[in-house]
Amino acid sequence: MILAVTIWLITLVTAVAFAGRYWWFPPSAASHGAALDGQFVITLLVTGVVFIAAQVALGYLLIRYKDKPGAQASHSHGSTKMEIVWTSATAILFFLMVLPGQSIWADLYIREAPADALQIEITGQQFAWNMRYPGPDGQFGRTSPELMDDSAGNPVGLDFEDPAATDDLVLPTMAIPVDRPIELLLRSKDVTHSFFVRELRIKQDTVPGLMIPLRFTATDTGQFEIACAELCGLGHHRMRSFIDVLSEADYQQWLADMSE
Amino acid sequence: MATLAPPPPRTEKPERRRPSGGGRGPTPPHGLGFGGEGGGGAASLPESRYYTGMWLGLAGIVMIFTAFTSAYFVRKGLSDDWRPLALPPLLWVNTLLLVASSGTLEMAKRSYPMPRPFQRWWIATIALGGLFLAGQLTAWQQLAAAGVYVDTNPSSSFFYLLTASHAVHLAGGLGALLWLTWRLFRGGLTKLAVGVTALYWHFMDGLWVYLMLLLVIWR
């Protein structure tokens, strides 16, 4: 009896805490955010109903079938029919829920970036982010690991013998224009990191040896924190930077300021 | 640490008869639980367990080499630094030695328990197995003399890794053969022990042929 009530209470508190949104995602600032959040809510609804139903049923059984003098348990080995019904019901329910979500993923990770997407190269290192803009010529210059030198102010190893490299802009924080497709090119120079911006609903490991593209479009301006989401060493918890989402005019101004 | 305890007796304790006498006992009723084919009804630890255990052990070994193989293909396919390794020709001789040892062991197994032919084939197997391991070591030395070490190239890393892993397993088999030889002269060698050891040995032979094909075809 107490156990049943406890289970129900835990269920109630959990359900209220989820539904009340006391702790929740920050508002989305990316074009795919609404779909992603929607998929989360759908999943929360479905699993929430299953969660409450299962826990309530568990508590009910504990009260209803508590051992009492004179009670007789039924001798049943089960029912194949019920077995088939709930197996297929679960399968249908869960797959119906999961399948539509795959297209959100495909939009974000499989579709090619539009040709006019703004490319920014991000290089993770213990424990900082390096953001590289191609500069006025629109081309990323050559880099080489031999030239990487934090103390000399060349963390990504720009090779200044390449003319395309001379105007490249390497910064510890970044800014992007709102409502323009962005393509991040994610790299790492030492261990695996993960580029995570909550408001933009993006996360992608930066893997040494690979260059991984990540495409999105920001829909709201603001300043957001960039976090590292993959254990990368003792400074993992302070591997932080900022991304400013600016209006097109502000962005151009920012770019001009930074290039000086 | 394990040696503090006596070695496992291969010959089992005297077969125990079930006290409940002859007959197969009452047939299990249907409808209660799930009747069916009937279990083993082992009176003691049955001998069949040695073959079962060996097959399962081989399955475990297969997984180890499966992981190595997939790592081989992934590492080879994803990189631009893979340089094919020129295998020392001696490996072909070694391969012949090992295949031959499987043959001699099979002859030994078939001639069991006739003492003379059994002993002859048995000793030949051990000699061939030992020669194989010595040959593998020589092949390593040849490669090292040519300046090819474990960290020279991924292809050489895998070569040393695969040959060493195989050699460790084969050395275990050779150890079993020697241990059984001791039992042969001391008395107490059983057909079962010979059979299970032969299964392992044949498997190691097959594994080596597979590794050879891997190293030759996808080098």
Partner: protein, 589 residues
């Protein structure tokens, strides 16, 4: 003890052979259990440090400096010490507790008895498995005492962080090497154990013990052993490759052109993702290795204490196999954000969804078992009910993480930490507790204290919900996992209250575990003498004395006539029918 017994199967004489290097599966089972008990308290102590540092970073504690002069200079924990504790917590809990206690402990002790065998198929190998596990634990613990301390790369040891050595961070030198060696030894021990378990089930069943008459505990140990046999070899291989990268200069996992702390790394062309694939090919089956025995114990106990047959026995067996097989095809769901092909992410996602189906079958059938029963609320039953509740809570959390779209946000946040602790941590531990309270009388001949058991249950059940449910909220706010301190980010400051709540709940829950410890050791010496069959259960272990004699059945192997769950059979004299009862006495319905 009869004379025939002494002739046929003499028990060993001498302390060492009887209790230390014993080949008796029962002694080995208890050894495994005690090893896990020691480890779980070490692991819990580490979680105290972890939770403490998250809430009160930079606090000076004199005791810490005495204990860990390297990790807490001046009594203040360093971030690398936090990561070392986190790595050791995960490694100890996953390998030394969740893998050993349910399988090596209870499986060893009760599998042979439940199928009517004298011992495991290979007693010497069994002994070797345990002692290798012991050596593995010793090697792992040694990492606390070497320069640089334990590794800081997490229990998943992602390369290249784990492959580069000292240059990438403290603990990644000697500590990481010891970690790999420990895990490799553990793999060998587990492989030997797995083949022993499978052989025992296949070849040593007594007369009448058909496959479909085996208790579900035996089925779960059997499937777990199959998973172990196929998974641990892969981890062993991966460990060997990692060790070669670290010591002999090979480049399996380390790509070219790395610059760590302004130092060029002399490696070329390796693949960090290769490590992740190999690790998770082992790692995902491993979580089923941890939870399946708990499912078996729960099925067993729910039936015994509901006085009803297991609902859908065959479906339960098939579901175990379905989970086991699918468990090998879903490892990629740990890697959605890793840079793996986005197409394969979809395949892994759908495969993972498929696992929810057999899991749901199990849940339904547990409820079905209680439905129409006469439920007796003894401590083992409480923990089994808790298992079902936690399995539901934890399992449903998985449905957010198996979808790559929602996983984009939730991956590597506390949502994941909450999810896996609920299901493979706490639910599995509830299975272990249920098993302990259930089988203690048989193992040690005395009953555990029921009142203390219930207090322990209440604290633990409420406590773990209070610890791990709120972690989902942390994840929804975006709190990344494995952060030593939460001070560097603005958005984490709003979570201080929730973190404090979790820490307090954790401390209270951990305190409650000492009630269990007191109950365990107190009952060992002072407990009420246990009868042969205190729970009125039907399986074979309840036909022999408590504790059982050296060869389990005192020279007379049992003959089985019934399935394992014949409760409340209409017309029977009592409400349960032992598996050994002769069939002639009653007619099947």
């Amino acid at each position: 003890m009869s004379d025939t017994h002494a002739v046929h199967h003499p028990p060993p004489s001498g302390f060492i052979q009887k209790y230390v290097f014993s080949k008796d599966h029962k002694v080995i089972g208890i050894q495994y259990f005690l090893l896990a008990l020691f480890s779980v308290f070490v692991g819990m102590a580490l979680s105290i440090l972890i939770r403490f540092n998250l809430v009160w970073p930079g606090t000076e504690v004199g005791l810490l400096e005495t204990l860990f002069p390297q990790g807490a200079p001046g009594g203040i924990m360093t971030p690398e010490f936090y990561l070392a504790m986190l790595t050791m917590h995960g490694t100890i809990m996953v390998f030394m507790v969740l893998t050993t206690a349910p399988q090596g402990g209870f499986g060893n002790y009760f599998l042979p008895i439940q199928i009517g065998a004298l011992d495991m198929a290979f007693p010497t190998l069994n002994m070797l498995s345990f002692w290798l596990t012991f050596v593995s634990l010793v090697v792992l613990m040694a990492a606390f005492f070497v320069t640089g301390g334990p590794p800081t790369s997490g229990w998943t040891a992602y390369a290249p962080l784990s492959a580069l050595g000292e240059v990438a961070g403290p603990g990644l030198g000697t500590g990481q090497n010891l970690w790999i060696i420990s895990i490799a030894i553990f793999c060998v021990a587990s492989l030997l154990g797995a083949l022993n378990f499978i052989t025992t089930v296949l070849d040593l069943r007594t007369k009448g013990m058909t496959l479909m008459r085996m208790p579900l505990t035996v089925w779960s140990w059997f499937v777990t052993a199959i998973l172990g046999l196929l998974a641990f070899g892969v981890l062993l291989s991966a460990g060997v490759l990692l060790l070669l990268d670290r010591t002999l200069g090979t480049s399996f996992f380390i790509p070219g052109g790395l610059v760590v702390s302004d130092q060029m790394i002399d490696h070329t062309g390796g693949s960090p993702l290769l490590w992740q694939h190999l690790f998770w090919f082992f790692g995902h089956p491993e979580v089923y290795i941890a939870i399946l025995p708990g499912m078996g114990v729960t099925s067993q106990i729910l039936s015994v204490f509901s006085r009803k047959p297991v609902f859908g026995y065959r479906a339960m067996v098939y579901a175990l196999f379905a989970i086991g097989i699918l468990g090998f095809m879903v490892w990629g769901h740990h890697m959605f954000m890793s840079g793996m092909s986005p197409y394969s992410a979809i395949a892994f996602s759908l495969m993972t969804t498929a696992i929810a189906v057999p899991s749901a079958i199990k849940t339904f059938n547990w409820l079905g078992t209680m439905w129409g029963g006469r439920i007796r609320f003894a401590t083992p039953m409480l923990f089994s009910i808790g298992f079902v509740s936690l399995f539901v809570s934890g399992g449903l959390g998985g449905l957010f993480l198996n979808q790559p779209a929602t996983d984009v946000y939730l991956h590597d946040t506390y949502f994941v930490v909450g999810h896996f602790h609920l299901i493979m941590g706490v639910a599995a531990i509830f299975g272990i507790f249920a098993g302990t309270y259930y089988w203690f009388p048989k193992m040690f001949g005395r009953m555990m204290n029921e009142r203390l058991g219930k207090i322990h249950f209440w604290i633990t059940f409420v406590g773990v919900n209070a610890i791990f449910m709120p972690m989902h909220f942390l994840g929804m706010v975006g709190n990344p996992r494995r952060y030593a301190e939460l001070t560097a980010f603005n958005f984490l400051s709003e979570l201080e209250g929730l973190h404090l709540f979790i820490t307090i709940a954790a401390f209270l829950t951990i305190a409650g575990q000492f009630i269990f410890l007191a109950n365990f050791f107190g009952s060992l010496f002072k407990g009420e003498k246990a009868p042969v069959n205190p729970w009125e259960a039907t399986t074979l272990e309840w036909t022999v004395p408590s504790p059982p004699p050296h060869d389990n059945f005192d020279g007379k192997l049992p003959e089985v006539h019934h399935g394992p769950y014949e409760y409340s059979l209409p017309g029977a004299s009592k409400d349960y029918v032992m598996q050994t009862e002769s069939a002639s006495r009653k007619e099947p319905v």
